[in-house]
Amino acid sequence: MTSDAVPAGGDPRRLLTEARDLAHRVRLAQRVTWLPLLVLGLVTLGAIPAYRYGHTVVSNCKPMGDGGQACQVWFQTATFYWWTALVLGYVVSAVGYLRVARARGLETRIAPYAIAGIAMLALFTTLHVFVARELLPPPDLERPLPWVVLALFRLTDFSGSVGLALLVLAWLERHPALLLFALGYLVVVIVPMNFGWGNHWGDKWGFAPMLVISGGVLLLGSAGFALAQRLRRPR
């Protein structure tokens, strides 16, 4: 009988090793890591004109000692841009993942990534609005917020939520390289370093350096994962 052509049973250690190897090969075949990174990188760079040319709502102004004033600013257009672009981005990534995986003859567990990304977006936006309205005192530039509060604020901001969604993807894919990448990206977001770049660009371009850096990191990651996948593919 043909089904007995391969010897039944065998060394349990070998059987387990083979099963693990097969599971690993399936995970490799399911990955399209470059796609969400590309989409999120483009979404991040696309936020620059939304901040630069979009509508802002200024409120709660307070005079400063030097004759100027400190105000709460809500970037209305940018907020709507992030919301629309990120939701679309998660959906596009999920659909792309499914299409590529099906073309390779597999299904993939990508839906939790998109759901987690959108859920975090909703949760963090609500949290930011609540904190800004109910908890934060009027702006005081002479007494800046503690770094822990700033770090939490950045982690739950749009760029931070992108990194947290990537952590979910790394867990779903059991992908250590993506996990390291997502952690590195979160460090870039939480500890903003622009090396003095953009200091003289004026208020209207204030967000640009950080967005260029975080978007650039995502695009470089996308290129790196695409290259790694191409090199791993059997010839």
Partner: protein, 121 residues
């Protein structure tokens, strides 16, 4: 009221050897491979299985028939454009059987590692 006291025989006090619980349908290299891939992928195409397991179409079909008859996988035929495609999905019973087999294999390995095997003289 007195009755006979149940005194188990010495060999009955120990847990049965993991080998006794192995399912012949699952404890087979190729079929274990099919179940593993289907578990990881949720749904897998015939061609992917054939490539990964390095089998002929006929051989793979026979193994799938064994698993389908045992209710461990579902085989679904469809079309992608003009091309016929066969998709394989793990059933709940298949999921349980795979988990059981993996657990038995781990038990076997643990038992081999803890058993004092006398050296050949």
């Amino acid at each position: 009221m007195t009755g006979p006291v149940d005194t188990p025989a010495p060999d009955q006090t120990e847990s049965p050897h993991p080998v006794t619980g192995l399912d012949d349908v699952v404890h087979q290299r190729v079929r274990l491979g099919i179940l593993t891939i289907a578990h990881e992928a949720r749904r897998v195409e015939f061609g992917f299985l054939r490539t990964q397991l390095a089998l002929t179409a006929g051989n793979l079909s026979q193994h799938l028939a064994v698993l389908e008859t045992a209710g461990l996988v579902e085989v679904e035929k469809g079309y992608a454009g003009r091309r016929g495609r066969t998709w394989i999905t793990l059933t709940a019973a298949g999921n349980a059987a795979l988990a059981e087999e993996i657990a038995r294999l781990k038990q076997l390995i643990a038992r081999v590692e803890t058993t004092d095997i006398p050296e050949d003289r």
